[in-house]
Symmetry: C2
Subunit: 131 residues, 2 copies
DNA sequence: TTGTGTGCAAACAGTTTGCATTCGT
DNA sequence: ACGAATGCAAACTGTTTGCACACAA
């Protein structure tokens, strides 16, 4: 129940060649440059299904969502460079336990949380105006 | 440079009477019910300026932003009930220090972060289908 | 008076969706 | 052949903005 269409392959393959977060529109443009014509709506639909399947990670930015192939299975967090987008997947953080603890103290259950770190990576901090 | 107009007073006063997060549109409706006619655009503009001033807190939800008067000055986090919106302001979390530490380990600087906890408050967990 | 604040409606951006068509299986 | 996937364009949603007018200072 998941057909391997030209478009789906193109999107997946593109994502695998990238290692930082990109918006649906950026991916759409990148595909066009590669000569692969895929409708924007299809890019959205594909990303959606990949995200649902847990194959890609979604980062909700201020005004748009960005996506990235993720290797880690399960819950994890990110450290993202706000200049170049370089991303580090953080693991082994005991945020879950800690969050559950705090929540319980306030009588809350079924705790969930969002946590993302943003900053300037060494490279961008050193050369503010380069790629 | 910050005029006290009827509208600004209405919005501020309304916010002060509430203790959980509301969207701009909800606030707009509430004002109308109170008989206070304030344009939606004005509500947005007012919330914007209050947020800039650090008087209200903004919580970026999936699809919309919600606002709330905040007493705490400075950076803090929230524990929000996803059923009723009840909110607890968390303080004394050493997230900042911790985040900076993690980031530094990866060569990142000027670290910033987002962290919010969501769950079901005692009341909502007990009575799933009430107010 | 003066220019910030307001209201309205139009503009916007990102995302979603309806529907006829294409194409994997 | 059958129904899921696509493309296009139109619809949607929350939010922003241009502009003429109102009003706090």
């Amino acid at each position: 129940m998941q057909r391997m269409t030209r478009q789906r392959i193109a999107v997946t393959s593109l994502m695998e060649s990238l290692d930082d977060f990109r918006s649906a529109q950026q991916l759409h443009d990148a595909l066009r440059e590669r000569g692969e014509n895929v409708g924007l709506a299809t890019v959205y639909r594909t990303l959606q299904s990949l995200a649902d399947a847990g194959v890609v990670d979604v980062l909700r930015l201020e005004d748009e969502n960005v996506f990235r192939m993720c290797s880690r299975s399960g819950h994890h967090h990110h450290l993202v460079c706000r200049a170049c987008g370089r991303t580090v997947e953080l693991t082994g953080l005991d945020v879950e336990k800690w969050a559950k603890q705090i929540a319980r103290e306030h009588g809350f259950e079924e705790v969930d949380h969002t946590l993302e770190l943003f900053g300037l990576c060494a490279q961008c901090a050193a050369a503010p105006n380069e790629a």
